[in-house]
Amino acid sequence: MNLIKLQNVSKIYQHGKLEMVALKDITITVQKGQFLAIMGPSGSGKSTLMHIIGLLDRPTSGSYFLEGKEISLRTSDKVLARLRQEKFGFVFQTFNLLPRLRALDQVILPTIYARAKNRWQKAEKVLEKVGLKERINHCPSELSGGEQQRVAIARALVNSPEIILADEPTGNLDSKSGEEILKILIELNKEGKTVILVTHDPNLANQAERIIKLKDGRIV
């Protein structure tokens, strides 16, 4: 069964009379355990696509199936929030860590919303996994960019989601840190997680098993 299936998905932003087409008739399927890279020039709709896949945004038209179940406009905020907790882990280009919160608390955050048990142990475990065991009490301002992004990955992992959505996770990092991040993503993929990675870097994209190229909101 397809893990994710998008059918003729379009996203149109309305600016008064002006229509801005961010995505046009996107149809893709993602299998469980796949490592998918999405490439394309700036403004081609990569982030928009990621947000729709990650249930942060809803398409203007088209349909979305997650594990065979349709996600429609009628799906409630509660259900969407729960699916985001259980199925998806987000990693952003700008890390999006909360300032002044130590690494451990950053990672615990999603477990609070998921009402998970053993929050502490889970958070410590994933932080150890991304190699930050020694840094769990540090605030973002005391961490390097690469370390911050690893905290963000740990945060994405803590609820054991099936899908990791990484939107240019290396965009703000030097190549060495970027490679470390990619190594972690590849490792996760080997453990069975589905990884969708947006990147500008062909070298990184080439390590994925499948590449989708976007241009002006269409797959090329």
């Binding site: 947000h51 990650g54 942060l56 945004d57 905020d77 509660k78 929030a81 729960r82 985001r84 907790q85 259980e86 987000f90 952003f92 999006n96 909360l98 002044r100 919160l101 955050l109 999603p110 919303y113 998921a114 945060r155 994405a156 609820n159």
Partner: protein, 400 residues
Amino acid sequence: MALYSIWNNKARSFLTMLGVIIGIASVATLMAIGEGLKQDVSKTVKDLGSNIVIVLSGDIPIGEGQGMTSMGNPASLISGDILKYQDVEEIRKIEGVEAVSPMAMVPGSFKKDGKVSTPIIAGLEPSIRKIMTGFKLSRGRFIEDTDKDKNVVVVGDKVRKQLFDDREDILGEKIMFDKTEFEIIGQLSPPTSSSLFSSDFETLSAIPFQQAKKFTQNQEKILRIGIKVNDSYKVDDIVPKIKENMLLRHPKEDFTVVTQEDLLGMLNTIVNLLTTAVAAIASISLIVGGIGIMNIMLVSVTERTREIGLRKAVGATSGAILWQFLIEAVAISLLGGTIGILFSFLGTSIVAAKTAIKPEVTLSAILLAAGVCIGVGIIFGLAPAIRAARKDPIEALRYE
């Protein structure tokens, strides 16, 4: 989590809380003072002893609060010609009346070796001690029936201090009133606890009623008639009889008969009224505080747009975001209230040190304050919290 962001913006949070702090501090302090006053009032009324009825001159609507404790009130001096000694004698004859005493006021001062003391000089009869049980003697004796025509005086502690400095025992000393020499036959104990009203006992000096008359151009100047009803009778049964009796000589009803309960009720009504008025004023401060909280929360929601987006991305429902911001608003409000309560402790201890009132910050006042703070937090935090909850996660995440 909520306290976290309050702590991170200490200065701003404090300014935000100021309205709540002031509101709660003033309400709590004034409630405490009100509570202290009430205790004081009931203590004073209890000083009267039990089964007491007082006839006041003037038709005072009950509730206006003319306690016998305001004996020195110049306004009542004016109306000092209404009650007559004959009234005292007639009331004495009523069945069930155990003791009656006129209470007359004599304006003037005592002098001794060039020193002057101006106490409240009351013309009383010996039976007053059955009525005002608060009279306690530290030395000597009280006025007795045989003193009727003697120039004797029982002095309060103030007179002793003002005329004799540190001397404790002043029995037998002579002091001058006008051109008459008075002998001190007794000294009143200073009030055991410095109550606002019982300080009367400190400034009071008692002389025989018959002597008092001589200094008021033979007018009786009776302001009050104190009556003790025998304990085997019900006060409520005797009051109508006293009234009836009085009406025989005062057809215009230019007097008022009050019981101890009336006094207590009257005084409590005043205190309650004051407390309520003050609470109303203070609640304006709370509304200002609430608006401050709302304002700061709206700013906070905008500032933390990214955080809201991120929280939603990691699985927060709109409801969870709503709660977060609501709790934050309540926390700010409660913290402000707590600081306010602390200030009220400070305020009441100042009041306690500077005045005779013993204010008391009661548990119920603290709980009320907490309730009010939670209410303010919820009411004024709701709009910002709803705004936060409604934020589209994408808009929020793209927000720079």
